[in-house]
Structure formats: C-alpha cells, structure tokens
C-alpha cells in the first residue's frame, strides 16, 4: 500500500527465538510493534508505551529491555528472545512451570514480560534472595497478584534450575 514506500521504510533483520526473520519497518516503529504486528508474535504485550509497566519486556542480546522504548531499526542484526521462545520440545521453561505451579499469574497480561525479566535475573543471579527478586522485577507492574506468588514462583524456579543445570 502507499504508506509503505521504500524510502520511508528500512529492512530489519533479527534473530528471534533462534530463527532469522526479516521485516520492513518505518524508522520510528517501536520494537514492540515490530515483534507483534510485523513478526506476528503477540505474546509480547504493550501496557503503557512509556517504559513504565514492563509488559513488553524482551531480551535483546540477552539483556532485558522494554521493547516499547527500543526502535525496531536499533534491533537490526541483533538477537531477540520473547516468551514464545521459552518452551523447548514441548516442555515448559522452569519459570513458566513455576508460575503455573505457584499461581504466579492471574490475568496473564504482565506475565510474558515478567517471565523475560525473571529469565534474565536467573541467568545473572541463579540464587536470588526475596529482596533481590523484588528489585529485579520492580520495572514490571502486575495489578492482579500483589507479587507474593510471583516472588514464590521465581524462587521455586531458581531451586529447580539448580537441581537440573541442563535446563538453564
């Protein structure tokens, strides 16, 4: 269509959840919308557009970022991981399983971002204390759970991942 003239768009190539994908993006297009609308991965949610709620958190080269505050063109030729990439061979990631086991989610809207932040936390700090967990997820708002069971879930996952290092 007319609004997709070549001079207003850039080709963006990313490796997302291990798969190389390409798409056209206006330079102003936010990474969150590129992931959701261009690449069709809608597990990454948008809750505020102002870097406050964290529902759009993804890993960019293994660092958690709020994808509503990254331009799609900035991710060109970088690696992205989203919630859709957590499961392997039909087995939930220990964090996904722990959120389920511990009632760490209610409406589920913040959950993908919360999971990605937690993945990054446990990669850096495999045995976080409650206080470390609470600080790590303080950029991810949850309006349903009061965080108690999220903290519990992350702690549970950290124990299980310690028992099964292959899962990390």
């Amino acid at each position: 269509m007319e609004s997709r003239k070549d001079d207003t768009h850039r080709m963006v190539t990313v490796t997302i959840n291990g798969e190389m994908r390409q798409g056209l993006a206006e330079p102003r297009k936010l990474l969150a919308y590129f992931i959701r609308e261009t690449l069709g991965l809608t597990g990454t949610h948008v809750g505020c557009d102002t870097t406050s709620c964290g529902a759009c958190t993804v890993l960019l080269d293994n660092e958690p970022v709020k994808s509503c505050t990254v331009l799609a063109v900035q991710a060109d030729h970088h690696q992205i991981d989203t919630v859709e990439g957590l499961e392997t061979d039909n087995v939930l990631h220990p964090l996904q399983q722990a959120f389920w086991d511990n009632h760490g989610l209610q409406c589920g809207f913040c959950t993908p971002g919360m999971l990605m932040t937690s993945v990054a936390l446990l990669q850096k700090n495999p045995h976080p204390s409650e206080s470390e967990i609470r600080h790590a997820i303080s950029g991810n708002l949850c309006r349903c759970t009061g965080y108690v069971n999220i903290v519990k879930a992350i702690t549970d996952a950290s124990h299980k991942m310690q028992q099964e290092p292959a899962e990390v």
Partner: protein, 783 residues
Amino acid sequence: MAMEATETRPLGKSIKRKEDPRLVRGQGRYLDDIMLPGMLYMALARSPYAHARIKGIRLDQAYQVLGVKAILTGADLEKMNLSWMPTLAGDRQMVLATGKVLFQYQEVAAVVAETRAAAEDAVQLIEVDYEPLTPVVDPFVALKAGAPLLREDRAQKDNHIFHWEVGDRKATDDALASSPVVVKEFIRMPRVHPAPVEPCGCIADYQKSTGKLTWYVTSQAPHAHRTVLALVSGLPEHMIHVISPDIGGGFGNKVPVYPGYVCSVVMSLQLGRPVKWVETRTENIATTNFARDYHMTAEIGATPDGVVMALKVATIADHGAFDAAADPSKFPAGLFSIVTGSYDFPVAFAEVDGVYTNKAPGGVAYRCSFRVTEASYLIERVINTLALRLNLDPAEIRRRNFIRPEQFPYQSPLGWTYDSGNYRATLNEALNLLDYEQMRKQQAERRAHGELVGIGLSTFTEIVGAGPSNTFDILGIKMFDSCEIRIHPTGKAIARLGTRHQGQGHETTFAQVIADELGLTTADVLIEEGDTDTAPYGLGTYASRSTPTAGGAAALAARRIRQKATQIAAHLLEVAPEDVEWNGEKFAAKGLQSRAVGMSEVALAAYTNLPEGMEPGLEATYYYDPPNLTFPNGAYVAMVSIDRGTGEVKVERFIAVDDCGTVINPMVVDGQVHGGLTEGFGIAFMQEIAYDEDGNNLAPNFMEYLVPTAVEAPHWETGRTVTPSPHHPIGAKGVGESPNVGSPAAFVNAVVDALSPYGVTNVEIPLFPWKVWNVLKEHGLTE
C-alpha cells in the same frame, strides 16, 4: 502445593489453573492481539482544556496524511443522533464533543487510517479553535450559587446531579442529640483509577454483505454491552456478536461503554472494514472511568462505654463531567448504605449528593461492589476515632459493637438483610495469628525508644453478588446470571456462563463447582465465557458477583443434569429411580454401593441407550436469580512504622483473615486477597488522580500515577474463617474485592495509631511520604 485438574471431588481444593498453560506461553488472545484482514486503526483527538467552547474544527491538514480513510466529529454524529450516548447511571455523555468540552482529554474527533501511526499523525494535525471557559474542579465550589454552569444541555441549571438518602433522619438526629459521646470526622477518598495493565479497546467488524457486526471488546459485561449497543445503534441485537477475549485485568474499568467504542462501531458501519481502537495509557487513566472522589462527613453517637447509638453520614460525590457511574440503576450512590458495616447501630441515616465538575466522567466501582469501599473505609476510620476518644483498644470497641452470630439474618438500619457472619471469631483468628497482645507490648517498648509504630484494625462487612431481581437492574435488565452445561457422549462437559473473567480463574473454579456436582474432574469441564453468540445471557463480572450469581447458576444447572442423569442411571442399574442415590461421585443402587455408574457411563447412555420415551441428550441451563446478596467479612490488622526523617511508612506486617463462606479453591482465594491488598495499599499510600485549578490532570501516566511495584508491595499473610452463606447453592460469598475494600482503613488506622500519642486522629490518603512528613513537622516530630 497446588493439585492437578484430574483430582476427584475438586471443590475446596487448590487445583492448578486451567487458563495458565496458554497464558505462560504468551498464547493468551487479548484484544490487541487480534488482527483482522483489512483492519483499520482509529485514534482520537482530545481536548487540552478542561472547559472550553469549540469555535471551529479544521480537518483539511489531517486529511492530507497518507492512509487516512475518514475523520469523524461531533457534528457528524449529531446528524446520526449519536453525538450523545446514555450512561449506565441514567445520565448521558458526549461521544464526540459538540458545543463545548467539559474535561481535559475529552474526545473531540476520531481518525481512522490504514496504520496506527497514520491515525496518530492525523490527530496531531486536527486544528480546533477553543475559547477557554472557567473550569470548576472542586465539587464544593461547583455547588455554590453563582458557580459556572457546566452542563448547559440539562433543564436543571446548576451542577447538582442527584440527592439520595436512606434511613431515618429524625430518629438519627434525635439519637445523636441524646448520645453522651459524639465523634465527627471528615474523610476524603480521593479520585483513583483502576488502571489494569491492559488498557481498554475494541475492534468493530461490520460485514455489509451479512449485516452482522462482530464487536471484539475488552468487556467485563459482554451481554449487557450488546444490548446497549443494539439500543444505541439500532442494529438488531441478534446481528451483533460481542466477543470479549482474554482480558488483561479489569477492576471495574471495563464495565462501562466508552466514546471510543461507539466511534469505532460507527466507522466500521460506514467503511465496511474492521476498525481497531486501543487506548494509550494516558487515555486510560485520564478518560475511561475513574473511581471514588467521595467527600464524606460522619458522626457516631455512643454511650460512655463505646456502645454505638447512631450513625449519620453526608457525602458529596464528584462524578466529573457526566454521571457515568456504573451502578445498578436504582442505586445512584451504589451500595453505600452498607456504611453501618459490622456494627449493630440501632439507627442510621446516610445521604449522598452527586455533583458535576470539569473532570473525567465516572465513577466505576474499582475492585468494589459499588461504593462499598468508600462506605467501609468511612465506618472503619470513624469507629477508630471513637476508640481514640474513649481510650479503648480498637479491638475492644469492635467487640462491643459487632453484630452477634445469633442476630443473623440481621436487618441493618439502612435496609439490608445480612446473610451470615461470625465477626468476633474472624477478629479473634486474626489477633491470634498475630499474637496481638505481644504485638502491643513490642509497640510500647519501641515507642519508649522513640519509634513511631502503629497497629491498625479493619473489621469490615461487604455486600456483594448483585443481585436479586426485585431490587437490582441495569437499565431495566435484571441482574441475574446464568450457566449452560452440555455433557457430551464420553462424559466431557462444556459449560458457558454469562460472566466474563479477567484473571479471577473462572476457567478453573467454575469447572471445580460443576465437576464436584457431577462426579467429574476439573479437567473434564471446559468453561467458556465472553461470547454472546454461544453463552447464555448474564450481566458480567464485577462487584464480586460472579461466584454469588453465576456460581450459583453453575451448581444449579449441574443439579438439573443430575436429576435427568438419575433417571438414566436407574435404567442402567435396572432399579427404580427412587432407589438410586448419589454418593458424591457416582450413582449407586441404594444399599448396594458396589453397583454404581458414573457420569461418563450415564452420559454415553444419554446418547445411546435411553430409557423408553426419554428425550435424548444431557444438558441444562439455569438462570439464577439470587434470593439475597451475600455479605463477606474480614478482619485485617496492619503494623506500620514511620520514618521520622522522610515520613515514609513501612508496613511491617499485615494479616488478612477473610470469611467468604465456602471456599472453592483456596489457592485462588489467597491470590485474589494478595492482589486486592496490594491495590488497597496503593490507594492508601500511592494512587491519586489529582487535578490543578485549571483542570489539568496531574497524573495521566504510570510515571505520575503510582501503582505498587514489587518493591513497595508488602509481604501479605492470610487466614480464613468459613461461615457459609445460607442461601447460596454452595454457600459461597465472593472474595475478589474484600481485600481492596477492607485494607485501606487498616493501613490508615495504623498510621493514626502511630501518631495518636501526639494528638493526631485523622490523616488524608494517599499517605505520600511528604504528606506524612508534614504531619510530623506540624506535631514537632521531625526536624
């Protein structure tokens, strides 16, 4: 530890949620995840002024943006007689402004374009010529003679919306006059917003060829929304298919119909293409309904021993520019008349006056059964003031005034019949779990060392489950709810309900209720809600009504199935129907438990091997009109300390003992309580939508409207007493809102307790550190 959905007799067990496997995979299907072929995007132009006359609107620049398909203004809607829409409160609200704007961010024009970005670009280029008028932001000023008239469209030429009163004014005045002790307090519950993480939005998809409108919408009440849309648009109701997909939290925000919804429907009808509108966070907080903004004065009369004699309450309710409250139609102040709470007041009187101001319209019941939070906060605060006056422990003043177990069913002086409760037992449970006496000792020791430490109680009673059809309706539609169950030949069931969950766990908990009635497992029962083409009519999920209404319907529909199943079982067991008994899991021949058949055998027979002359199939529908509301209660205790240097309040401990009657899933109930307490904490300490004198919204995003993060949120402890509701089919009462209703007073009472040795009896929420610091400063408690 949570149990699997394959557990038998699942009622009362912590069954892991069935909705979670898709949600933890990011495979929920929320509104904005739905992308239809040919879909257009809508964005709204909004007023920068709180009160201004529109002198002109120019669209030519906006139309130049590549990809713009159409722009709608109030003048266009006026021609269709759609520039105003009815509110649930019986007022009306502008869809797109005509004449003048009445609040900042009010909807002025709608742009539809090929892309989200093009629509936003065009909005920036719409030129509106405004003549600013004097704004009125204070409801008390709005009521003064000579205040600027806000709503010129009304016959009544002032800013007063309604007067509502209940109780015996004269008897209450007389009782207060003769009371040896009278305390009076002004209590403000400021304007807040539910702010679910997912904002509101919709996709209107009108197919000209079929005449059918599919309307995907973030709706807590899809059936009611379909009816409202049919009435407003003139489309035949059966040609409107409302789909409320997975919802990212609601808390009351997703109950009303909003101007953006109407505009997207109009645009889709005109263009014949799907039109998506999703609000930004600022649009969410600044325009779609707020809550509270209640300014309350209460007086309690009592004996010198602290036995209450009378309660009198007068309230000014700020509704903003339009009375868009989402209350049952006969209740302009919601269920505020629960204000006598857990206490046996011989006489009471309450009145509420609604007022227009130049602020966003509302208000909704934010995690609350219609103004119950305001009422509970008020009574729990003022009973605390009475305890202070009489130098009584806050637990003791409550014990002296609780409605006693033998008084149930209890007639309250303001007209309710409380179903059940054992308030003293609930309070005792909380005090025992905490070791209250030890806690008071510790407080005394720490005080002696100069620390500011406080303990606060709240022993509230809620009123939920609206409601019985003789009293409760929304625009005439009775507030029953419904469940339809179909058992398929292999004994697996699909059940559909008129409610719509937003995280409450219905896909699990209602499956537990039905499975328990039918000898199935939770895994055997698929729950579906939110699709008006398939689900039976119901009024939706808010006001903690799902379990009291649809939960009752689910149990009773299952029992209808069991009636027919008993006949089939008799046929299979080759005994008379009266010789068949249900043993909780199977149908057994009386006196011969080894001869039994389960629901899967009966289900197969319903399609393959029926008794002579019986209608095939095994399904039932129940529309449940509850005989009464339910009255959950709780006893909450907070312990706080205050930093003298910063005024910051630390919640050191908090215990919530709830009595919500029969518990369907303890894990889910605890989760609901944790979430509600955190919102109550936000309301007490962080959340406020403030306006400046020009009517500018001072907190229109998550950087200024502060909701609790994991760092601020305290660790919560929970407990329970169980006093079943005598009239509910499984004795359940509903719980989602209790923690939000009950907790703010506990926090504030604790802060007042910390400061009461220095003469403080009242502080105003939210208790930002700077506000507390000012109180400390005033009383010489900080440098």
